[in-house]
């Protein structure tokens, strides 16, 4: 029995958020969607203050409350390896999974997909013929993925995913839910040679993320947990009965843990999309030349 999961070492993580960006580019997720999110939080009053970082992907629970909440079984747990997936072809966007999941890992897509792709979802861009003649559309030509996908969209996501042979990978269509897939496109495609890895795990500068089969004692996460057996470990919200498959190494956050530099500090997607769709024609910064 395989159950893919992770051991995440908070004693090593320094909160660089490379994993968030790797996930985003790998899966061409739209604005505001962070299938991998990294909490930065502090505890204790000055000067006895600690600051810790916590990467939080989908926990790919053994008892996924999102799947039990899903009325169409679009959200389901894959038997062969325990990845919890969203069948985009079946999902009706009711958002029950979002409510059912205690971890906040679900993202709804209610914009036209092109709107949320950092200005790249259109066939024309505001930068066309600016600072010299030419456009991105011309440079890409037939290579432009189209369909509201950014130029870094990998067509590997357009493949059908087993066991249903439907679309479950990459950025979701309009009106549908999405979340971390543990890079199912990597696990299922031998020819890319990246099975057994995820984008987040691969890029982490300090190897804080160990990905593998939690049932296999020789897997990376299990080995690392043994190596760090003198450190404490915990799982998130264990009392909810979800049986998450991500184990954290390090101290559990205190009750007074306060988020800093959190998602609230990120760019508001609506504001950004508005700017991208209606960019100003000219620059507005006052350039002062002292007399």
């Amino acid at each position: 029995m395989t159950q893919l999961g992770m051991a995440i070492d908070l004693e090593r993580c320094y909160g660089c958020r490379a994993c968030m960006e790797a996930c985003k580019v790998e899966n061409s997720t739209p604005r505001g969607a962070f299938w991998m999110h990294v909490f930065r939080y502090e505890e204790g009053e000055y000067p006895d203050t600690e600051q810790t970082n916590m990467p939080r992907p989908c926990q790919h629970c053994s008892e996924p409350s999102c799947a039990s909440a899903c009325p169409t079984s679009a959200r389901f747990k894959r038997e062969e390896d325990g990845i919890v997936l969203t069948d985009y072809d079946r999902c009706i966007g009711c958002r029950y999974c979002e409510i059912g999941c205690p971890y906040g890992v679900n993202y709804a897509q209610f914009q036209h997909p092109g709107e949320g792709q950092y200005g790249h979802g259109h066939s024309e861009n505001a930068g066309d013929d600016t600072f010299g003649s030419g456009s991105l559309a011309d440079e890409l030509g037939d290579e432009n993925p189209g369909g509201g996908k950014p130029p870094w969209h990998d067509p590997i996501h357009d493949q059908d995913v087993e066991p249903r042979g439907t679309k479950m990978s990459g950025p979701q269509p309009e009106g549908v839910m999405s979340k971390c897939t543990m890079c199912v496109h990597r696990q299922d495609n031998e020819e890319r040679g990246e099975q057994g890895t995820t984008a987040c795990q691969q890029t982490c500068p300090v190897d804080a993320i160990k990905f593998g089969d939690m049932e296999d004692p020789e897997s990376e996460p299990r080995q690392h947990l043994r190596d760090k057996s003198s450190s404490s470990t915990f799982k998130l919200l264990e009392d909810r009965g979800t049986e998450p498959n991500v184990v954290y190494i390090g101290d559990e956050p205190d009750d007074d843990a306060r988020a800093i530099e959190d998602a609230e500090s990120f760019k508001d997607p609506e504001e950004a999309i508005e700017i991208e769709q209606n960019p100003p024609e000219t620059l507005s910064t006052d350039v002062e030349v002292k007399e």
């Binding site: 090593r12 490379a18 968030m20 960006e21 810790t52 030509g141 300090v206 760019k267 030349v289």
Partner: protein, 915 residues
Amino acid sequence: MQRNDSGNLDLTRRDALKAGGTAAALLGLGGTATHLTTTGKAQSASLEYEEVPTACWIGKMDCSATAKKVGNRVVKYEGNPDDPRTEGSLCPKGQAQIEQVYNPYRVKAPLKRTNEKGQHGEWQEISWDQAMDEIGEDLKAKMKDDARRVVFQVGRKKSPQWQEDAWVTGTNNRYDDSMEKYGHGATCSDAIYRAQELMFKTHGGSETDFENCEYFIGWGHNMTQGGGAHLCQITWPKQIADARDDQGMKTVAIDPQRRNSGPYTDEWVPIQPGTDMAFWLAFNSVLVREGYIDEEYLTTATNAPCLVATEGEEEGHILRTDDADDPAEEWDWADGELVYDEEAGEPVAHEAASAPENVALRGTYEVDGVEAKPAFQLYLDQVQQYDPEWAEEITDVPADTIENVAIEWGENAMIGSTTVVDGVEIPYRPVGTHGYHVSQEEMGLTSSMAQYHASQLVGAIDVVGSTRPRKAKYDAPQDYVKPFREQAFNPEKITPNPDGPDLAGSMFHPISSTGYSQSHVSLNNPEKYNLPYGPDEMTWIVQMANPVMSAPQTDTVIESMSQIDNVVVVDPWMSETADVAGDYVLPAATADKLQGPTGGWDGYADLEHIRFPSMDPLWNTKPDAEIFIEMAKAVDAYEEYVLDINDELGLDGTEYAYSGADEAPADPSEFLRDGLDRWARTKGHDLEWFRDGNVITNEWEVGDGNRYAYTWGMDNDYGEFNPYDCKHSFYSETLVRLGDRVDELMAQEGFDESDFPYIQDYNGFPTWRQPTMFDSPEEYDLTTFSWHQIEHKQSRSANNKLLNEIAPRSSIRLNPEDAGRIGVETGDEVTIETHNAQTGETYSVDGVVMIQDGIKPGSAGLPGTHGTWKDPENEELDEGPNVNKVFPSGPGYIAFSNDQSFHVRAKVEPKGGDN
């Protein structure tokens, strides 16, 4: 594919290419296989998968990377497991750079300005030929007249061999003159470089032997975000995390902010910004008091025992034998410096002393009737006053904390112990410390020296477990210090008249980190600074630099650059410098270019590799190398350029050297490829080998030179003396002598320390004085400090939409106590106003507050790299502010080495006044 030690699939590039099918067969060398034409649609929409070996473009390290491509599009950048620095990682910027490669606002063709400078630019598209013709004519005229009219201002070096090396050197050779060449170091970390050059005759930021370190003090944010020379922010966290997991290394962070050293900080020492020298002086006084002194290091390797006259003509100078070496010529170890040999009962030349244990570090002696003391005795006389109670008043660090940290340092240093590594016996001193960007404060150079004294006192210099004060790529002393000593010992070389606006070599800055910020102060005041040419007579070439954004003080820079006769900006975007001051903008490609050779090291191994283009350069952009090959032709210096390429690529003396311009391919992109191929051949490979995904790595053995400078002197003739093959300066005679000459000339020219506060800092030992900013009125009750956030890398990441999403603004970090007093909460808009204590000017910007307990009360943290305007979308998306608007430049806010201070007194108020 094989599993590596961690059990991960160890994919090699070859596996990927084989697995990718026929895509590999379609590839020639990167650049010849034209995947995207610039004239129209691409070839067939192939979905073939391919991997191209490349290097990350957005940061400074050129981390080896793989561009994953589908058809003709790059879809992802990933790290290369063979890069010892990264072991396959990329940081958040490296992952996000892909968005900028496709940025539709990239400059697409050479542009010529059509409106006046000093405002947003209007542009006319021109051909590369026209651009080169016009730029060439202008440069030829100025170079012929006087090369000092030309400034080459580089920011980030990326494969400098082809631009700031060969182009500058070749052109200088052609005109038998020298243009001004400036880097960005004064706003980066150069104060600590200068400190090392003076003290250790090396070059580069600090690096620590983390594999063997037990106790580490991170000074500033450098533990996780500041990096060191060519070691950015992947390698240190990796090595520190391993050191903590493997041997339980303990860490202390001296930083007004806790955040940047995150989980690695066992002890956070919040410090009042700008008072670091006081901390280190007190720290050292504890070491001295407690007897944590490595006498063997001091007597064998440094000038600590050298006799310094305390009276008479030579006061402050080291006394020498009559036949002593010229201290400027023999900059590494000049024979003949006197020490007192206790067994002989008389002063002798240092290297002729009977034994290190007989060399006196203390006492008062007489040399030819003149009183003299070992430099170390002078140090003892001085350092005792700087006790922890004294320092507590200034730094806000409790005296007990300073005591305890110093004693832990001394204990952990294991003075006297040795260990054997790779068969070589080396002192074992497992205590390390890093500072890097923190050195950019008003007394940053001398504060860095005080920090290094902490290592010198316990002998923890470039030995097992300790700090190496240099770039580990060097395996021998470096002569960067030589010009400083030449001026010190031949003071007539220093005059009131500089060659250019960075003032280097003149009485203003005999030691100069070049004037990334000061140059603009100078250009706005050419008479005061005795400049040979005003801005209207000069041409500036700005290569991968953006002074308008990245140099304090923004308005000063805009004013100066707007007056320069001709500004040529080479950049992928319409940088703010180009927008406001550019006459020509030449579009460089980004990751879509061939470039190299490049590489780096992690302290234990090194690597060399090539950046192959992820795609062909988009639009009419070019690799920087090709731009400068063309520019060499444009200034009639192509022959000299080609010959210098031999030197820059290490082809000289090999069969691969170019005999002359005729042998170089006429087409610049062919020349670039051919040059890189020749370079590859000197390494026993060819360019194709690198194109297949290979990189060259070397593991370093102890004794070869890169590891432990202590081994450099193993085979020299100095016996027990001179283990580092150069004499470390514990006492800075060079600064004393330079200071004497500077004082003389300043007085002659009618200046004193009220005009240039930094002239007080030319002392033999770091000497505390009040930073100029302390003179600001009390209403400016916060001290601002800055850093660059992990998500950004100078102004070139500011228009990256993915990074903007997770870090859209430079929030002003305040402690809850200060926020409460001001009456603001996280998210509130505020105005931060700073005060220039030298001139009385004030500056202000608006921003948003972020409250953290991890910020020291009395300080305000304001990170850099926001407030950009590369295009209208970027301008709106970036919420600012630009911190460089509120940092003063010029005297009072620069060190004597021209290094910029990033501290200033400020007040913060709710926007629109108090509620």
